[in-house]
Symmetry: C2
Subunit: 136 residues, 2 copies
């Protein structure tokens, strides 16, 4: 149902009403990926009106979860970034992540920037718990 | 009301219910910028629930307008990209643009990529007309 490239680069957090929320496995940014639980979608326009409203709610709560992850890891974020690109993986998915003026790609976009950095095990646990506490 | 950097890089198209829609003055991509007509906003979470739903509708219609611009200019798009970053200009604004596998930044993001390319006058007129015909 999900493109394996989305699964390989992220960790399951929880299923929301519309999307599965996953933590991007990249310690450089607190970063959640939302993937609607209908696999044939490519664009936001492919969602029904009520699904679009639900997506926006899930983007907002994911932003709150991103802030919680960032704070738990001691690097609170200054700005949220939201992106729906799909140039590489066309299955509809939305990125919600936090930025700081001292992050490696600032002020440019994170997509395609350098190589992911793995979380240390303890930090990953903390990130997952912090995100789930907001999303669940 | 609008950050001058948003105005300088784009051309007014029309005012929708929530946002002013502007054509990004960059001939490399068919690209609309949506700026809510309330200047104190920074993040999607700063919108009310009904404004968030309206924003999503305006993103979808802007995607249709982007496709119309692209087709009018003879370069139909294969994929839409939507982004809300605000790392440089913090006033809330949303980018909706069209991508092709032969565009200069493909498959990476467009933000911060190279320098804008000015439209030729006739192409700009055509782009503005095409976008307005969908948005109006």
């Amino acid at each position: 149902m999900f493109d394996p490239r989305l699964l390989d680069s992220s960790v399951h957090l929880t299923n929301l009403a519309l999307c599965q929320a996953r933590l991007q496995a990249d310690a450089r940014w607190p970063w959640i990926v939302l993937i609607p639980l209908r696999a044939e979608l490519r664009e936001i326009e492919d969602l029904t009106h009520s699904e679009r409203t639900q997506l926006t709610s899930e983007i907002v709560v994911s932003g709150q979860a991103v802030r919680a992850v960032a704070t738990a890891l001691g690097r609170p974020v200054e700005k949220l970034n939201v992106g729906q690109l799909g140039n590489v993986v066309v299955q509809l998915h939305v990125h919600v992540l936090g930025r700081r003026a001292d992050d490696p790609a600032w002020p440019g976009p994170v997509w395609g920037f350098g190589a992911p950095v793995a979380y240390e095990a303890q930090a990953l646990d903390l990130a997952v718990e912090s995100a789930r506490s907001v999303l669940a």
